[in-house]
Symmetry: C2
Subunit: 135 residues, 2 copies
């Protein structure tokens, strides 16, 4: 099988500050966790808050996996015909009290429904991102 030639792609690494800017401009990403050693991914609504990323989700097996192994990855991306970007957060997740006044920005959960009453705070240990342009 022959792999077709693809157009030239320019890749630019984002600075940490630029990664935060991209994250702050969006509200929907994907969180990856280990469930008994096997990776799993699920889509979540989020907000950028001081100190990290606040994620809203439902109680369930994924949440239990996070409580057992708090290491997570969180990814946000977007593509158009000519451009694309992605930001990857690696870090720790912990459940936080929704009754706390510490955060004033509530993550959207447009498709999670009324039972998405669990809040997770993701604390990044590493933040990387790339901007891609076809040309």
């Amino acid at each position: 099988m022959h792999i077709d030639a693809e157009p030239e792609v320019t890749t630019t690494e984002l600075t940490e500050r630029e990664c935060w800017e991209y994250l702050a401009q969006h509200d929907f990403g994907r969180i990856a966790v280990n469930v008994r050693g096997t990776p799993s991914v699920f889509p979540v609504g989020y907000s950028v808050v001081p100190g990290g990323i606040l994620v809203r989700t439902r109680p369930g097996s994924k949440l239990l996996a996070i409580l057992l192994d708090s290491r997570i990855a969180f990814e946000v991306d977007e593509r158009t015909d000519l451009d694309g970007w992605s930001v990857l957060v690696t870090g720790e997740a912990e459940e936080v009290d929704p009754g706390s006044n510490e955060w004033h920005t509530m993550p959207a959960a447009p498709f999670a429904g009324a039972d998405a009453h669990v809040l997770l705070l993701l604390t990044p240990t590493q933040l990387t991102g790339r901007l891609l342009h076809r040309g």
Copy 2:
């Protein structure tokens, strides 16, 4: 902090056949792997082929992680204002020979560039999906 009431969300579990249909209609997803026990996620182009999902990527540390621990998760999703869906594949990944004639569908790699010459075959062990509707 008060969690605002969200509109009712209807959730429908997709059958395995429906999951394959959604996967076949798209070409861009995210693969999650363990890198020394820590989850990581990266966006990839893909094609559905007989027996699994063919992913095109660059050589690098993520690929090395897959060769060391072949368990992966692969996720595709889409949202509009009123609807959303996501499909999650859990399974095994193996590098395959791009010179093989076994596959006639080549995954797109519009943003991966000329060095995206590595092919991975994902073989699902579990396939789940959800359709979400606000209303």
